[in-house]
């Protein structure tokens, strides 16, 4: 969603300059494109580090620092990237093919790199001229990789860092990142505030209006929305629970969008010992019989879940991709049916109540959803035991296979292949431990095909398999709710929950 149509509304005068204070839901981690792992750091980084590619309003990759989408050679072993001219890093050094090469090499090699995987198949990087970068790819598919343009557009691999700064700071680049971007890093203020300032080196500098943006992390949703209302913050993401309160003032402008990802239940099917260990089926009811999982699914009333648990700020759905994605399909959820669920339990010969251990994190939203699922499924004969552990512990438990069912928010991207790590039998992030030659084959094909229509079909087939197995039970897509000072125009909210301020400006 966007805050307002770009055209000026009558009677409003745009103001040049100005400052914004933006609320973040978590502390950004290191502001280093290769090392950053969190969403919040990416939100900040997108303003100071432009990428070769970015997502367009249709959520498909489009060039940003490149002039075109990557050109693939016929044999699929060579990618050519053409770069913009006349671009400068924020430290004034020129942006050229050599800089791109340096950045790519750093992405690939720096210790702890979060971006290295995008370059898995890259064997050689050459720079035939200042405006051209050529990547030679390895032939064999050692590891499935996502498509290059999506990956670079959605993740930080496409961000190009100033070689001079890299030279200077090495792996401490994140302490003072310098890239090409409308804003430049202005420093930390305390533990939780990051300032970025308008850059005069930016090629489109005259299109940038806001002078200075302060990001402030406020983890507590209620506090964040209170700050928003009191005017301490100009823009922030608002938790579902707080939306009504914030809107009751009627003064803030609303910016909504459906997320790419989904909220769902991951069932531990074959991950008894941990994702990096051989698959083994845990000794749990839910893993033992698909009918139990179906019964569980049927017991959940998604519309009640959304209206009570999410204050209606979500869309009940049984498909991983939301409407934002080209890969969306209207796949209606089974209507809640307690009788059928009970019948399934009887059919499966399960001893009721069926014991289910549901792991959630400790935030109030997860707790709320967990308790709702608990009471809904209780009617069908499940005895859900909630285990709420803070995020890191939950993640660790998921990796170790120490769970029955996990309530989790999956942040997918525009690239449909983002479901691959969750379902591909060889992926070591496949926490449900889903296996199957059929789905493996589909996912492999989806990855290597560039044909859009074919991909849509492949992923739909793969998804149907997941829906049937119910190793993941999809619940809903949340609607990101951003509230902003009405004087700010042109804020862009992307489906991944990131806000873009490059086109923003203040009005009187």
């Amino acid at each position: 969603g966007t805050s307002e149509p770009a055209s000026e509304t009558a009677g409003e005068t745009p103001v040049k300059g100005g400052e914004l204070t933006v609320g973040l839901a978590a502390n950004p981690d290191v502001l280093d494109p290769s090392l950053a792992a969190g969403l919040e750091s990416r939100e900040v980084l997108t303003h100071i580090c432009e990428s070769l590619y970015t997502l367009g309003s249709d959520n498909k990759p489009k060039p940003q620092l490149a002039t075109d989408l990557p050109e693939w050679s016929k044999d699929g072993l060579k990618i050519t990237i053409r770069l913009r001219t006349g671009v400068k890093f924020n430290d004034g050094t020129p942006f050229d093919a050599e800089a791109v090469k340096t950045s790519f090499e750093r992405h690939m090699s720096v210790a702890g790199s979060q971006t290295a995987m995008h370059f898995d198949r890259v064997e050689k990087i050459s720079t035939p001229d200042d405006q051209t970068v050529v990547l030679d790819l390895a032939d064999e598919i050692a590891e499935p990789t996502t498509l290059f343009d999506y990956a670079l557009a959605e993740r930080q691999g496409g961000m190009i860092m100033s070689p001079a700064q890299l030279e200077k700071l090495g792996d401490k680049f994140g302490n003072e990142p310098v890239c090409v971007g409308p804003y430049k890093f202005g420093g930390y203020q305390g533990q939780d505030r990051i300032v970025i300032e308008k850059s005069d080196q930016y090629y489109d500098a005259d299109k940038i209006s806001i002078k200075r943006i302060t990001y402030q992390a406020i983890t507590d949703g209620a506090v964040r929305s209170a700050n928003l209302r009191s005017g301490e913050l100009d823009v922030a993401l608002v938790d579902a629970a707080d939306v009504d309160t914030v809107d009751s003032d009627g003064t803030l402008q609303k910016i909504d969008t459906q997320e790419f990802g989904y909220m769902g239940l991951t069932v531990n099917l074959n991950n008894a010992d941990g994702v990096d260990k051989p698959r083994r089926t845990p000794d749990t009811a839910m893993a033992s019989d698909p009918r139990l999982r179906e019964a569980f699914d049927l017991a959940i009333n998604r519309s009640a879940l959304v209206s009570v648990g999410m204050g209606g700020k979500a869309v009940a759905d049984c498909w991983p991709f939301s409407k934002q994605s080209p890969y969306y399909r209207n796949a209606p959820c089974p209507a809640p049916d307690i009788d059928r669920a009970k019948a399934l339990l009887t059919e499966a010969g399960a001893r009721t109540p069926v014991q289910v251990d549901l792991m959630t994190s400790t935030d109030s939203e997860s707790l709320r959803l967990g308790q709702l699922i608990q009471s809904m499924t209780a009617q069908a004969g499940f005895a859900v035991k909630l285990r709420s552990v803070e995020q890191v512990t939950a993640t660790e438990a998921a990796r170790k296979g120490d769970f029955d069912v996990l309530l989790r928010q999956a942040a997918l991207g525009a690239d449909p292949n983002r479901i691959q790590p969750l379902n591909y039998s060889k992926a070591d992030t496949n926490t449900s431990g889903n296996t199957g030659e059929e789905i493996d084959a589909l996912l492999e094909e989806g990855m290597t095909t560039t044909d859009e229509a074919r991909r849509v079909k492949v992923y739909q087939e793969a998804q149907d398999l997941v829906r049937e197995r119910r190793n993941i039970i999809y619940l809903f897509h949340r609607i990101h709710q951003v509230r902003a000072n009405p004087a700010v125009r042109g804020i862009v909210l992307q489906p991944d929950g990131l806000l873009r301020f490059a086109g923003a400006r203040l009005t009187k």
Binding site: A241, V308, G309, T362, S364, L367, Q374, S375, L386, S388
Partner: protein
């Protein structure tokens, strides 16, 4: 009963001493009221299922976040559960945490304090250093750390709170023992040929019970507050089991739309802590008449 001649017959005399304490205690209206409130809380906790008007974990999706009304005396929460019933059931977790944490703290601290205070020397040095160290950690950080290591549950939160009170209790017990050790009656016992064990448990320990009793009653309310704080941070009782801390923590998101969700459980915590504190005050007054408050 120690099986010595004379002791059984001593009971009436002892009881008369106790009775006068009870009598003096009951003559303090504030302490009496507090005692009654504590008792009411305990009764509420024990008979929660009978007393509470609703099942605390059954949702009524048509009555979400309703203000207090005739049906739901204290209103309903964000999942349509009756707040009164949840507070009533929550008293179980909160009081258990409070009382058990106090017990845990006593069980750990008393032997250590006895040993440190009575034998002094090396044991005292080691225990003293540990106490200093642990005391230097802020209580909540310690409790958070422990709760995170042990995993969140009522039991673990209780252990964490209990343990975090240990150093302070050790100090108190040790101080008492040091003082008692210098009492002439201990010299009298040594001169009578008594063994260390008897001296510790028959002579010194009973003379520290007043302080311990008062301290225990002081730990209870802080432990109730501690449980609330840990649950507030998501390290306590697991839902849907309510505890006052859990209620408060979830209520925080609805502070404005549904202030009753914070106000009533908050009042419950405060009232419970208040009455335990008042009982402690009363005990202190009665058990230590020269103590000034």
């Amino acid at each position: 009963m120690t099986g010595i001649a004379g002791v059984p017959a001593a009971v009436p005399a002892e009881r008369s001493g106790r009775r006068s304490i009870v009598f003096r205690f009951l003559r303090r209206p504030r302490a009496l009221v507090a005692c009654v409130i504590v008792l009411l809380f305990l009764i509420t906790a024990v008979f929660a299922p009978i007393i509470s008007p609703f099942d605390p974990s059954v949702n009524d999706f048509n009555a979400v976040r309703q203000a207090p009304s005739a049906t739901h005396l204290l209103g309903t929460d964000e999942l349509g559960r009756d707040l009164l019933s949840r507070i009533i059931h929550g008293s179980r977790a909160s009081l258990t945490a409070g009382v058990c944490a106090a017990l845990i703290a006593l069980v750990v601290a008393v032997p250590l304090g006895l040993v440190a205070g009575y034998y002094r020397g090396f044991a005292d040095t080691v225990i003293g250093r540990l106490v200093d160290t642990v005391l230097a950690f802020p209580f909540l950080i310690l409790a958070i750390g422990l709760a995170a290591v042990l995993g969140p549950s009522l039991l673990n939160a209780t252990i964490a709170i209990g343990v975090s009170h240990v150093p302070q209790l050790i100090r108190i017990v040790r101080g008492e023992v040091l003082a008692a050790r210098e009492e002439e009656y201990v010299a009298g016992a040594i001169a009578s040929g008594s063994r260390d064990r008897r001296i510790l448990f028959r002579h010194i320990l009973p003379n520290t019970t007043n302080t311990l009793l008062v301290q225990a009653t002081v730990v209870v309310p802080t432990a109730i507050l501690g449980e609330a704080a840990l649950s507030f941070l998501g390290l306590g009782v697991q839902p849907p089991t309510p505890s006052w801390g859990v209620l408060l923590s979830t209520a925080q998101s609805h502070l404005e739309q549904a202030p009753w969700l914070s106000i009533f459980p908050g009042l419950a915590v405060m009232l419970a802590a208040l009455s335990f504190n008042m009982v402690a005050d009363g005990l202190r007054d009665v058990l230590d008449p020269k103590g000034t408050r």
